[in-house]
Amino acid sequence: MQAFPFQPIPTPLIFERSREGRPGTAVPKPIVARRAADVLPKGALAATPPDLPEVPEFEVVRHYIELSLKNHHVDRALYPLGSCTMKYNPKVNEDMARLPGFTGIHPMAPDEQVQGALALMYELSEWLKEICGMDAITLQPAAGAQGEMTGIFLIAAYHKSRGDTARNVVIIPDSAHGTNPATSALAGFTVRGIKSGPDGLTDLVALKAALGPDVVALMLTNPSTIGRFETQVVEIAKLVHDAGALLYMDGANMNALIGIAKPGDFGVDAMHLNLHKTFSTPHGGGGPGSGPVAVKKFLEPFLPVPIIHKEKDGRYRREWARPQSIGKLHGYLGNFGVLVRAYTYITRLGREGIKHTAEGAVLNANYLAARIESKYPMPYGRGMHECVADGSRFKEFGVKTLDIAKRLLEFGFHAPTVYFPLIVHEALMIEPTETATKDELDRFADTMLQIAGEAETSPELLTGAPRNTPVSRFDEAAAARSPNVRWKR
């Protein structure tokens, strides 16, 4: 792994490479010799076409290749972004998702012509249900946040179907992802926060106090965002159910549990998976993700339409007639191409490989924690698949967690997630995933220890970082005060 090797020179925008009248790509001629003006009403036509760039093809390629070189990415070096599970994205997954039998099919083609795609979705559903210990699933949500939303909508529909309409509060621990409260608000519910206990886990006393006849659900992340298993999850589920509420699990951290334990066995009623975290599908610079939602039997009638049904003769069809369904989340069936990648991954891993994956993820995170905890105290312990360090001890040297993150970039590593979860001051949330060798973990740990030493002796090395990246730090506050979000001629 190398530090960024090139001169930090800004790349012009594609629009700035454009010259009027330069030829674009040739497109097929219409099948008859007519023009747009011959077939479209004059009143509907624009006087001038959109001001898109005019750049030769090879310049377009050079432009985006040059931009690509300015990115850190998983195929370059460790990307220990906590909660995001930046594991290796197997190359065969990419090839499978691009098979013409998958990319070339129209979503409105008759079921008979898309049996392969439907079979893949059905089988993946069965596998994910088994991994989660749940009874039914939808693959439709396009990301984790949309999965959460689906889950909360399902739970709301369940309460409503029983005439239980007074519930309007979702309980969310203070360690939760921001999407949990944002989702609850979108569903029209108010959020009742509960403080985590001294161990960083759910405080049962606080939970009891928060529960009541107005509660829709508890949204619980397990393992929690500090990377620890909620050891009292069965008691938590019982308390929640006794209050007539349901238990929703944010499955962002399932990489610690696959093949080890099933949320369905904990008393979880609904949960989402992030295929782009646990099941190796690429993050794409911020999507596409996929957030399947698995539920217990009693929530199945509310799942979004269509669902994939397997007939007795082995054929698959999309079923729309589901009178209690919450509706639709996606224009079609969700991020199908992402499902192909996850299917390919599980096929390769098999049942043993799935368990090895969780073991490897937890082993790597614990090893890293053990290597650096002398300099980076972890207030809630080492965790499972990730560890959360508190960087406040560097404050006395004038160094913040952000400075540690920026110094790491100079060594060619991506930074951990910083300032999350909110229950840890100056948090550094580190998730190496199972796809890191001991050597790379050692290099990362050595670098972290070196940086801890520098913070005490030469803090300017941190506060002035990064220096060898394509750009240095930005004044983000100034950018937000007078936002420039598009190029103009």
Binding site: P30, D51, A145, A261, R348, L363
Partner: protein, 446 residues
């Protein structure tokens, strides 16, 4: 198999450093009663070759059809540049650009994408993408509701994609907001007289351009109608059509959304695709999702950052403008590379060929016995609705067995629309004269 890289010696050394005896000890926090046994329903692991065989066998079961189906997703050609850039590890194995200094590639792409979305729609400001056109439409309705706080319901033209409607209803249902359906005229355009009465108390009017029946709407009139009633105008567009038609921005729309799939994204059974979202400047701080903005670094160099993050869930939590976090960044890259490759003239060529080809298909199809226009007099772009001599789903089913997807049966959506004897037919620049001959021949047979 797994992608865990350790030798037994590695594992022993690591466990010793951790201070435990076995891998199992690392899971001591999981109560033994909750540990699961073998995942019996999942097969044993496979070699890469066996995996390829297994997955390819599924892909081989799907039929390659000559595609005249549209209804929001179209079979346009994707130039080779797009997938070559998408396959760059630097783009597809990165994540949300949280560390701007090592994410300038992704951030500049988002900024260029936002600009192109504005250029296509004629709007002032864009964002980093939504999951798809349907959820972009739902988020536009939410934005309108947040801006027009005293107005609860929204009015959506009957001729908006039924899945945009169903998704928007699903998003709004929880907060008790209704999606009212505005009727169409005989020519397929919005019935403005009857819509006017519905708009009192509505936060926005949503129309589609061209609409779901393929008909070109008068956006200027729709904008006037919405604004007179104190509502916003949201327009869902086919982005290819924007190379020829007046843009929502030029017609006075407040928000424009689109399914971005026609711009360089394979149909891929409906996903992943890409939602486009753009608005007037005044709504910038109410917009959902990520936004890239230009900034100067400490050395005075121009670069890009995620900006206006105080709108977002990770900062604002339950007060965020949306719950969206991960979006469709890689597909936004596809759209950006597509538009850069096609350029001003190329996109116009695609639009023109699609429109001309669709009109040729229309002329030929109407000569067949029993086929008639659903919306006589309605001008269309790349797609049109016809009434069929027998149920459209039967025609589609039988034609598909002969290798042609002749269109989409209108009763096959979340809502049956316009009856069972109606088919929606589209053409793109990929359809050849031979394809059209084959379509007509197949329709004669079925």
């Amino acid at each position: 198999m797994s992608y865990v890289p350790h030798s037994e010696a590695d594992v022993r050394a690591m466990l010793a450093t951790i201070g435990v005896k076995s891998l199992d000890d690392l899971f001591a926090s999981v109560p033994s009663g909750l540990r699961c046994g073998e995942l019996k329903g999942i097969p044993e692991g496979q070699s890469e070759w066996d995996t390829v065989r297994r997955v390819s066998a599924l892909a081989d079961r799907d039929a390659a059809l000559v595609c005249f189906g549209g209804a929001g997703l179209y079979d346009h050609y994707v130039p080779a540049t797009v997938d070559h850039i998408l396959r760059r590890s630097e783009f597809y194995t990165a994540y949300t650009p949280y560390q701007a200094e090592v994410s300038q590639g992704t951030l500049q792409v988002i900024y260029e994408f936002q600009t192109m979305v504005c250029q296509l729609t004629g709007m002032d400001v864009g964002q980093a993408s939504m999951y798809d056109g349907a959820s972009a439409c739902a988020e536009a309705a939410i934005l309108a509701g947040n801006v027009k706080k005293d107005r609860r319901d929204i009015v959506m033209a009957h001729t908006v994609h039924p899945h945009f409607r169903r998704v928007t209803e699903t998003y709004l249902h929880a907060t008790g907001r209704k999606v009212l359906s505005a009727p169409r005229s005989a020519d397929g355009t919005l019935d403005r007289a009857r819509t006017k009465a519905m708009l009192a108390g509505a936060s926005c009017l949503v129309v589609q351009q061209p609409n779901f029946l393929g008909v070109i709407e008068d956006l200027e009139a729709a904008a006037a109608l919405a604004h007179e009633a104190g509502a916003l105008l949201v327009v869902a567009v086919n982005p290819i059509a924007m190379a020829l038609l007046k843009t929502p921005g030029a017609c006075g729309a407040d928000i424009a959304v689109a399914e971005g799939q026609p711009l360089g994204i394979p149909m891929s059974f409906g996903g992943p695709v890409c939602g486009l979202f753009a608005a007037k400047q005044e709504f910038l701080r109410q917009m959902p999702g990520r936004i890239a903005g230009q900034a100067d670094d400490h050395d005075g160099r121009r670069g890009y950052v995620l900006t206006l993050q105080t709108r977002e869930q990770h900062i604002r939590r339950e007060k965020a403008t949306s719950n969206i976090c991960t979006n469709q960044a890689l597909l936004a890259l596809a759209v950006t590379v597509y538009l850069a490759t096609m350029g001003k003239q190329g996109l116009r060529g695609v639009a023109e060929a699609s429109a001309v080809n669709a009109h040729e298909v229309y002329d030929r199809m109407l000569k067949l016995p029993g086929y008639a226009p659903l919306c006589p007099g309605g001008a269309f772009f790349n797609e049109f609705a016809v009434t069929t001599p027998k149920p459209a789903s039967e025609i589609v089913h039988r034609a598909a067995q002969l290798g042609v997807l002749p269109g989409v049966a209108m009763d096959r959506f979340a809502y049956p629309l316009e009856g069972e004897n109606v088919m929606l037919v589209a053409a793109t620049e990929k359809r050849t004269a031979e394809d059209v001959d084959r379509l007509i021949d197949v329709l004669r047979q079925v």
